[in-house]
């Protein structure tokens, strides 16, 4: 490029014309920002001038030659002149040759200079490439509209391992750049000459040998490469900033996660900045406690003035001074959930932590605060209910004590009644035995004919009979009184068959007398738990009842059987006797209840039977049809232990 420069900075008005070859190249700092220009310039003036001179000499030589040719023709036509001028010509020729030789020599000298200059230039270029090759920045030079690689330094080649660069267009070498519009960028720079600054351009670079593609990020410069003012290509400076980008992305991800954690945490969290405790960060969980209050950016006591005068400011002061965290449980504070509205009692469980700056100095506070109002209220309600329950319990205890007192009273009354029956039976017995004695005395004193006479004899007999009945009733009363006292007589495991057999023998005379046909099938049943005396009494009463209340219209059949129900052996005493009128059934087991007068009885038997069965944990049922017969079902509890 021809340039007029003041080389010596002499300030000369007329500058000499000089020629330069040069390269301008942007210099990038580590951040990829251009902060200078590389200038590679060569002064080729001498070369150019020498070339110009040779060209001029050659032109002169050609012209002279033509003149010589014309002269020669003139010399041929004019021999004489030829002869004459031949010598001149030869001389001229010799002169000319000498000049040519001289000029050629000069030209050769010039060429040698030029060559030397070119060599120097090449050497300098070589040095430049050496620098390029060693620089960690990726550098390449692409030429032509297809951006064919003219140069790629080692760093550049290392970015794209296994590729062939030189002479090949970028689309072929780096097909991944086509889709990512990198080629379009290059085209633009090539067409417009505008330098393009790329910043952290992501490129997924496929790797050779089946390795997975590598994500890379480039910060780079595309700069038009000009020769003689025309764009001939693009020079590229690029840095792989993947590590920085990924590190930053990682930090960003972590920060995002932390932020998410903070914002999404179900626990209310705030960060208070500085000694004035300015609300710096408020997560939604905290804001929900105060849905209608503006907190962000305000100092704590300004945002929530109702905290003035509560223990809260002192607590913060303490955390601020000591750095020791503080946890408080269920502190009630009168606070408003909405700005300007009435305060309500909010229970708080919270932790205050000191926040420290990079130098370890406390510069704020972190608050983890839970609104536990609902829990506290629920618990208070539970406690209230508990107290109510406790008082109910106390009332129940009192009732229980009252019941116990009643029970004691009843027991005492029972004992009194028993004593009464005992005393009454004794006190009644004394006069009746006196009457009996007096009757005997009277009978002795009366003349025998009167005693056996028509009137007095039967009268005496009836009187003695009445005394006998009186005594028997008193005896039964005594029996009942004994039964009351032995509410829980000693029970044992008893074989039913043995008891029935014994009773059968006791009643043998009566059975014989009535001509009853007795069928007993009670062998091989589980033993029952009962007082032996009482069971005997039960069986005796039922069997003797069957014999007593027989029908006069048919011969008596009595069946004594048993069957097993869960936990019980059920003794059945069935007869075909008189049967019981349904209207009598409800009073059947009542004391002193008698439905027949034709048979001896005191009305005490079935009452005693039922009492004994109930007391032993069994129960008694009766099925009866007047004129057909009666069946008693005695449920006797099984013995828990088999008798040995």
């Amino acid at each position: 490029m021809p340039v007029q420069l003041d080389h010596a900075n002499s300030g000369a008005k007329e500058l000499k014309q000089r020629y330069y070859n040069f390269i301008y190249q942007a210099r990038h700092n580590l951040a990829g920002i251009i902060d200078g220009i590389f200038v590679f310039a060569y002064d080729v003036t001498t070369l150019v001038l020498a070339r110009h001179e040779v060209q001029q000499l050659n032109e002169e030589l050609a012209a002279t030659n033509e003149e010589l040719h014309a002269s020669n023709e003139e010399h041929v036509t004019t021999n004489a002149a030829l002869q004459e001028t031949q010598q001149q010509l030869q001389r001229l020729n010799q002169e000319l040759e000498a000049r040519v030789a001289e000029r050629t020599q000069t030209a050769l000298t010039l060429q040698a200079d030029l060559l030397a200059a070119a060599q120097q230039q090449a050497q300098e270029r070589e040095q430049l490439y050496q620098i390029f090759a060693e620089t960690p920045a990726a550098i390449c030079i692409q030429r032509g509209p297809e951006h064919r690689y003219a140069y790629a330094n080692q760093a550049y080649q290392d970015f794209f391992p296994g590729r062939e660069f030189l002479g090949r267009p970028v689309a072929a070498v780096l097909p991944e750049t086509v889709d990512s519009s990198v080629v379009a960028l290059l085209d633009h720079v090539y067409q417009t000459g505008e330098t393009y600054y790329g910043y952290e351009l992501p490129l997924l670079i496929s790797q050779p040998d089946g390795r997975p593609p590598k994500q890379m990020y480039f910060t780079f410069t595309y700069q038009a490469l000009r020769e003689n003012g025309a764009i001939v290509g693009i020079s590229t400076f690029a840095y792989d900033v993947a590590e920085q980008v990924q590190a930053r992305q990682q930090v960003e991800t972590q920060q995002q996660e932390l932020a998410d954690l903070f914002m999404q945490a179900p626990a209310p969290i705030v960060i208070l900045d500085g000694p004035d405790l300015v609300f710096q960060l408020i997560n939604p969980a905290y804001q929900r406690i105060f849905p209608g209050r503006e907190l962000a950016g305000k100092p704590l006591l300004e945002a929530l003035p109702e905290l003035v005068g509560t223990p809260i400011p002192d607590l913060f002061r303490s955390v601020y001074q000591t750095g020791e965290p503080i946890t408080v449980h269920e502190l009630p504070l009168l606070m408003a959930r909405h700005e300007g509205q009435a305060t309500e009692e909010i229970y708080w469980t919270f932790t205050y932590q000191a926040r420290r700056n990079a130098h370890g100095a406390i510069d704020g506070a972190r608050v983890f605060a839970h609104d536990v109002t609902e829990q506290v209220r629920t618990r208070q309600q539970v406690e209230r209910l508990n107290q109510e329950l406790a008082s109910i319990n106390e009332e129940l205890i009192v009732s229980n004590e009252e019941l116990h007192a009643s029970n004691t009273q009843l027991t005492r009354t029972n004992v009194d009644l028993d004593n009464f029956i005992y005393t009454a039976s004794h006190d009644l017995k004394a006069p009746i035995s006196n009457i009996e004695g007096l009757l005997y005395l009277l009978r002795e004193d009366l003349p025998p004919d009167l005693v056996h006479g028509e009137y007095i004899g039967p009268t005496l007999l009836r009187m003695l009979d009445a005394v006998e009945r009186f005594k028997r009733t008193i005896d039964h009363l005594t029996e009942v009184s004994k039964l009351q006292k032995e509410h829980a007589p000693a029970t044992k495991s008893i074989a039913l068959a043995t008891v029935v057999e014994d009773v059968q023998q006791d009643l043998a005379p009566m059975i014989q007398e009535t001509g009853a046909r007795l069928l007993v099938e009670v062998s091989d049943f589980p033993p029952v738990q009962f007082s032996e005396k009482n069971l005997r009494s039960v069986v005796y009463n039922l069997l003797s009842n069957a014999l007593k209340y027989r029908s006069p219209h048919r011969s008596l059949h009595v069946d004594v059987r048993a069957h097993v129900r869960a936990g019980y052996t059920v003794l059945e005493v069935h007869d075909n006797g008189l049967g019981i009128d349904p209207t009598h059934l409800p009073k059947l087991f009542t004391m002193f209840q008698r439905f027949h007068t034709h048979v001896e009885g005191t009305g005490i038997g079935l009452y005693m039977v039922k009492r004994m069965i109930d007391n032993a944990g069994g129960h008694l049922e009766v099925h009866s049809q007047p004129g057909a017969g009666t069946t008693f079902f005695v449920h006797l509890p099984h013995a828990t232990v088999t008798p040995t």
């Binding site: 004794h426 017995k429 035995s433 006196n434 004695g437 007096l438 004994k482």
Partner: protein
């Protein structure tokens, strides 16, 4: 002279005493019949009649009721055993009861009595006593 010199009846029931007195007299088995309305009266009588055990009015047979006011039969027997042995005659004590309540029977086991009978006292019962203790 009867089989028994003196018999002591201890009962608060006058009719019983009348009956028993009449019965014993008719049977003519005792010369004297002393009657006491309760245990204390009986002790007083013993004190008066048994200065020497051989006294003809010191009872050889005592028919004792259980239920009495002031001092009942059991209390009398306890007091009786407290007396100096020299002052206690060789006496047959029979308890007369209206009932044979198990509770009362049990109480009689350890007492210094020759036996017990249910009321009323009859000719047969007296004869049984005579046969067993005064034959």
């Amino acid at each position: 002279m009867a089989a028994i010199s003196c018999t002591l009846l201890i009962d608060d029931d006058e009719t019983t005493n009348y009956l028993n007195q009449t019965l014993l007299r008719r049977m003519a088995i005792t010369d004297t019949v002393l009657v006491a309305g309760n245990g204390q009266e009986a002790l007083d009588l013993l004190h008066a009649h048994c200065v020497t055990a051989a006294s003809p009015t010191c009872p050889a047979l005592i028919l004792l009721d259980m239920k009495m006011p002031r001092m009942n039969g059991f209390e009398f027997l306890q007091a009786y055993t407290q007396r100096p042995p020299t002052e206690n005659p060789a006496v047959v004590i029979i308890m007369l009861t209206t009932s044979l309540h198990p509770h009362d029977v049990a109480r009689m086991q350890d007492l210094p009595i020759a036996g017990y009978l249910t009321k009323p006292l009859t000719r047969e019962k007296v004869e049984a006593i005579m046969a067993q203790h005064f034959a």
